[in-house]
Amino acid sequence: MESSLWGVGIFLLVNAFLCLYRAFRGPTVADRILGVNIIGTKTLVMLVLLAFVFRSRFYLDVAVVYGLLNFVVTLAAARFLETGRLKEEWKRC
């Protein structure tokens, strides 16, 4: 069972590297942010996998925090792309 979980993790890692190509290649800034965001989702799943492989619950807490951080980072990057600032109201138009 454990070895197949390793296989799942490696498959996700390969996927994450393929997505990294999109983040590297662009062509727009939005594409790069999207690439980083979906790599984050794969990393989150990998952290949960690690919790099951090593039978250690701490990884689950790390995964929760990673998921929240991934979400906030994407929102902040999108807001920065849209307004050029972090500390400002969303333009209501």
């Binding site: 807490d61 929760v64 972090l86 500390k87 109201e89 969303w90 209501r92 138009c93």
Partner: protein, 163 residues
């Protein structure tokens, strides 16, 4: 109850769920953390945006009944993407359309926008300031023509607007 206090309470509940402990020391630490975070967030994005969305138990119950339909639509959306992407011809014909979906509550706007994003061939791009016109990116013309009928919109109205 004032909105920042509500945020503190929600953060504290989340803390207790994560730490799986009710010992006074841990709860006190969580309370301090929650207050610091609530103040920080209110300062960073403004009190208006820091307030949590409120839902009634009735809305939650109706949302749970709506879940099976949503899951079915998500699976259909993924199969649709798989068919499109694995087809060597890449049969897409994207178009951005605007649909008029009047809604009364913020939570229904969030629910409808996210539901549209997760259903086959559609992606919410923008919602205007009156919160009633949705700009939707569609992967194909057939999907774009079906959107104004608003099947999802009626589901969401039933779930969150309770009519």
């Amino acid at each position: 109850m004032n909105r920042p206090y509500l945020l503190v309470v929600m953060l504290l509940v989340f803390w207790v769920v994560l730490t799986e402990s009710l010992s006074p020391a841990e709860v006190a630490l969580g309370l301090v953390t929650a207050i610091v975070i609530a103040l920080g967030v209110s300062r960073l994005v403004g009190e208006e945006e820091a307030r949590p969305l409120l839902v009634t138990p009735r809305q939650v119950a109706r949302f749970l009944l709506y879940m099976p339909y949503l899951v079915k639509e998500i699976v259909a959306a993924n199969i649709h993407v798989a068919e499109t992407v694995l087809d060597p011809r890449l049969p897409i014909d994207p178009i951005i359309i605007e649909c008029h979906y009047p809604l009364a509550h913020d939570v229904s706007v969030v629910g409808l926008a996210n539901s549209i994003t997760l259903t086959p061939g559609t992606l919410t791009v923008d919602v205007d300031k009156n919160k009633d016109t949705f700009r939707i990116h569609c992967l194909g013309r057939e999907v774009a023509e079906a959107m104004p009928e608003g099947e999802l919109y009626h589901h969401i109205r039933h779930v969150f607007e309770e009519d």
